[in-house]
């Protein structure tokens, strides 16, 4: 169980809904992952809008909590307006806040992010900011009213996994009581396990599942990996050491001459 913004969630995996081969595979992957939060977006309505209606019906039928995002927004104004529109459509104060600053890396514009977070928090939103692993930016986001932080571990969709373990470890150490969700950059279940072993509270991913050869199988694998990492963190792992230590007791060992 995972307490997030006053809501108890059965899973520590949050899953995106984009890039699946079909709506049916998306629905099956969500079920297989065990997630209870899916991310969605808003885009311009096409004439007629029936495809969008079908997607919306599918998402509602999943019965999960919805986390709308402001993906694709490059300015504070765009992000704030999109967040307001998402609140009206999805009926939730939760918003995954993205203010993109670099088109190649999809790195967040952390200055715009802090400004947008402040505006939205003051307006009653529960802001989940997509940010970097920078501690100072994290402080500013908390000052702005965020109760959760979502650092990347590598660029969105890169599948690189945690490229800066030290920064993630440092973030966990500096903010022991803030829910920290690794968002973006995970490629393999072992990456998810690694960040969960560091003590992160949850992970949010999309591409690694949606673009796998078998998204349903990969969703299940990530669900298990997240659980394994969490349980390992809670169970107290052995620290590495430079010398061998026999695992079999040496006491009572026979002596042959």
């Amino acid at each position: 169980m995972f307490e997030l913004l006053g809501t108890t969630l059965p899973s520590r995996l949050l899953l995106g809904t984009a890039q699946y081969p079909s709506p049916a595979i998306l629905a099956d992957a969500v079920k297989a992952s065990g997630t209870s939060v899916v991310t969605v977006s808003l885009r311009r309505e096409m004439a007629g809008g029936r495809a969008d209606e079908k997607f919306w019906s599918l998402i509602r039928a999943l019965g999960t909590r919805i986390l709308p995002n402001t993906a694709g927004c490059h300015s504070v104004k765009e992000a704030v307006t999109t967040a307001n529109m998402a609140r009206e459509v999805f009926g939730t104060n939760w918003i995954k806040l993205e203010v993109i600053g670099n088109q190649d890396t999809l790195q967040p514009d952390v200055f715009g992010l802090v400004e947008a977070a402040r505006i939205l928090c003051e307006d009653g939103f529960d802001v989940l900011p997509y940010t970097t692993d920078d501690l100072v930016v994290a402080e500013r986001l908390l000052d702005a009213g965020c109760k959760v932080l979502m650092p990347w571990c590598a660029p969105i969709g890169s599948a690189l996994g945690p490229v800066n373990i030290m920064a993630l470890r440092s973030m966990r150490g500096h903010f022991p009581d803030v829910p920290l969700i690794v968002d973006a950059g995970l490629g393999r279940p072992s990456h998810a396990t690694t960040v969960m072993e560091l003590g992160f509270d949850a992970v949010l991913l999309n591409t690694a599942v949606a673009r796998a050869a078998d998204p349903v199988g990969m969703a299940r694998a990530f669900g298990k990996a997240v659980e394994a990492g969490r349980e390992a963190f809670c169970s107290g792992m052995l620290e590495p050491r430079d010398v061998a230590v026999p695992s079999t007791p040496t006491f009572g060992r026979a002596a042959f001459r």
């Binding site: 809904t17 984009a18 890039q19 969605v40 977006s41 004439a47 997607f55 919306w56 104004k77 009206e88």
Partner: protein, 65 residues
């Protein structure tokens, strides 16, 4: 009246936001609307009067990560 709807220039008779949505066959409780970059709530669309040159965004749920 000349309007920019989802980035496209349109010449249309609608005088309110609700009338514009109906004229474009955009109806449903899954839509969100903004005029000139500010949200216009669903409940206010019928009385929201459009002006020449207004920029309207009509958004709906999509897949997202």
């Amino acid at each position: 009246m000349k309007l920019i709807v989802n980035g496209e220039a349109l010449e249309i008779d609608a005088t309110t936001l609700a009338a514009l949505l109906a004229a474009l066959d955009h109806e449903g409780d899954w839509l969100a609307t903004a005029v000139n970059s500010d949200l216009v709530h669903r409940a206010n669309r019928a009385e929201f009067r459009l002006s020449d040159g207004d920029r309207i965004e009509i958004l709906s749920p999509m897949q997202g990560g």
